[in-house]
Amino acid sequence: MNKTWCERINPVVRDIPPSGIRRFFDMVAETRGVISLGVGEPDFVTPWHIREACIYSLEKGYTMYTSNSGLLELRCAIARDLAGTYGVFYDPRSEILVTVGVSQALDLALRALVCPGDEVLIPEPSYVSYAPTVMLAGGKVVSLPTGTEQGFCLRAHQVEAAITPRTKLLLLCYPNNPTGAVLDRKTLLEIAEVAVAHDLIVISDEIYDKLTYVGQHTCVASLPGMKERTVLLNGFSKSYAMTGWRVGYACGNADFIAAMTKIHQYTMLCAPITAQMAALEALKNGRPAMERMVREYNRRRHVVLHAFRDMGLPCFEPKGAFYAFPEIRVTGLTSEEFAEALLQEEKVAVVPGNAFGPSGEGFVRCSYAASLEDLGEALRRMAQLVRRLGVRPRVISTPPKSHPPREAGMSAAGGVSS
C-alpha cells in the first residue's frame, strides 16, 4: 500500500476530536470496587410488562421488516401521546418517523438539513454527540455557552447575537444532559420569537421530557408558530428505561420527514421490529411504571442536592433529567483533576464537566440514576474527598453507614458506550 489507512480516512472523520473523556473511561474500567455516578442511563431495568410484551411478540413471530417509517400502530400511538400531553398534532402517516433511538433521528435530521458550511447553534455544556454529528453532516458548530448565573438556561439574546447569514438551525435539549436545566415557557417563547424572526429551524431533543420535576415541560413544537419550523425528537430510552432497545422518533413537516425517511430507508431500512413492539406496549400501558420511576428520581434528586449543600459544593437546582452538575472550583482542582482524585482516592466515578464543552469546566456531572444505597455511599465518599481538599462542610446531617460498593466487574464489558 502506498498510502496508510490514516491518509485514506475521510478528513472530516479524521479531524473529529476523540472523546475528551476516553482516558477517564479507561481508568474507571481498570479500577475495582467503584460506585459509578457516571452512567447516563436509568438504573431501572425496563418494566416487566414491556419486556413480557416483547417476548410475546417474538413468540407470535414478529421478526420481519416494518414499513420504513415504522409500525403504523406505533406512529399512531406516538401521535396520540403527543396530542394528549402537549396538544401538538402530527399526522402518523406523513409527519412521524420511527428511528433507532434519538441518536439516529438527530443524524438523519442534520444530514437532511445541513449543507456544507451551514452554522448550527448548540447551547453548551451539551451532550457529547451533538457537535460531532453536526461536523459529520458538514456543518459548523457554533457554541452558545451557558453557566450557573443563568441556571444553565439558554437566553434568547444569546441566540440572536450568534446569528450570521449562514445560521441554519438551533439545536435544543431541555431538560438538559449534563446540567439538568429546563427551560420555562417564557424563555422558550422568547427564543421562539428569535427563531421566527430569523427563519431558523429548531431541532428539539426532548428525550428527558417526562423527567421534569418542577413545573411542566413545554414542548417546543407546542408554541405558537413553532410546529412548522421544529423537528421534534424523542424516544423511549429515559422515560421507560429502554436505552438498550434503541428506539426513538422524529416528528415534523411532512416534506422534511420524507427527506429523512429517504436517508433512513437506504441506510437503515427500519428500526428493529422487536423494539418497536416494546415501544408500543410502553405507550399503551407504561404510564404507571414510568410515573413510579419519576417519583423515585425526584426523591434522589433531593438527596443529592442536600448532600452537595452539606459538603459545601455549590450546585444549582436541576429541575429535570437525572443529573446534578455541582461546581467543584472551591476545591481548587479542575474538572478532570477532581474526577480523577475522586476515582483514585474514593472510588467514585463522575464525569468531568469539560467533557461537555469548555463551559462545563469547573463542574462534574453526577447521575442520580443509582440506587439510594449506592448514591448515599458515593456521596459520603465524595464528602470525604471534598473535606480533605479543604472545603468547609455546612453541617453533617446524616450518620455514616456502610454499604458494599458495586463491583467494577459487574458491568457488561467494563468498557464504554458513546
Binding site: 472523546s19 473523556i21 477517564f24 473511561f25 474507571v28 474500567a29 467503584v34 459509578s36 457516571g38 452512567v39 447516563g40 442511563e41 438504573d43 431495568v45 451532550y127 457529547v128 454527540s129 444532559n177 426523591r299 433531593h302 438527596v303 442536600h306 466515578a349 464525569v351 467533557a355 439510594l372 448515599g376 446531617s397 446524616t398 450518620p399 458495586r406 467494577a408 459487574m410 458491568s411 457488561a412 464489558a413 467494563g414 468498557g415 464504554v416 458506550s417 458513546s418
Partner: protein, 161 residues
C-alpha cells in the same frame, strides 16, 4: 407532609432515618419523627420487621396454606373463629377470602409432621371449623414484593454519556 409517601418509604425500607426521609420529602426531621410517632401510636404502623431468606440462613422451615371452611356464627360472623385461629403463634397470617373456602391460613413449622399435627389437633378441632385442606409450600419465588434470588443485577457500563 404526605403521610402516604412516608409510609411507602418505611414499608420499602424501615431502616431509613427521619433525617433521610426529611430530605426526600423536603420537610424537617422533627416533623417526620412526630408523624411517625403518631402513626405508631394509632397502630397505622403495626411493626417493623425483617424479610429473611431462611433457606439461605440454613434453617429448615415448612410452611403451608390451609384452606379453612367455617360456619359463620350469629352476631359475629366469621370473626370469632378467625380471631381464635389467629392467636396460635404457628399461624403467620389469617385472611377471609371470597370463593370456595372462607379463611386462608398460613402456617409455619419446623417439619411437615409438626404442621400436619397442628392442623389435625388444633385447627380442625376448633368449634365452627367445617373442613380444612392443606397445601404445603414447595418453593418461594417472590415474597412481599421481593423476588427471591432475583439474578437481575446492574449490567450497565460504568460510564456512559
Amino acid at each position: 407532609m404526605n403521610k402516604l409517601e412516608l409510609l411507602e418509604f418505611l414499608e420499602d425500607n424501615a431502616r431509613l432515618t427521619p433525617e433521610e426521609i426529611a430530605v426526600m420529602l423536603q420537610t424537617d426531621p422533627g416533623e417526620v419523627r412526630r408523624v411517625i410517632q403518631e402513626l405508631e401510636e394509632n397502630k397505622t404502623i403495626l411493626k417493623y420487621i425483617t424479610l429473611v431468606d431462611w433457606e439461605k440462613a440454613g434453617e429448615e422451615k415448612v410452611s403451608a396454606l390451609i384452606e379453612v371452611r367455617i360456619t359463620p356464627q350469629r352476631d359475629v360472623g366469621f370473626d370469632a373463629v378467625a380471631r381464635r385461629i389467629s392467636r396460635f403463634p404457628e399461624v403467620r397470617s389469617v385472611r377471609l377470602m371470597s370463593g370456595a373456602y372462607d379463611l386462608a391460613v398460613f402456617i409455619e413449622g419446623r417439619t411437615m409432621r409438626e404442621v400436619s399435627h397442628f392442623v389435625a389437633t388444633k385447627l380442625a378441632t376448633i368449634e365452627g371449623v367445617v373442613s380444612t385442606t392443606t397445601h404445603f409450600v414447595l418453593k418461594t419465588y417472590k415474597q412481599d414484593g421481593v423476588i427471591v434470588d432475583d439474578g437481575e443485577e446492574d449490567r450497565r457500563l460504568m460510564v456512559t454519556p
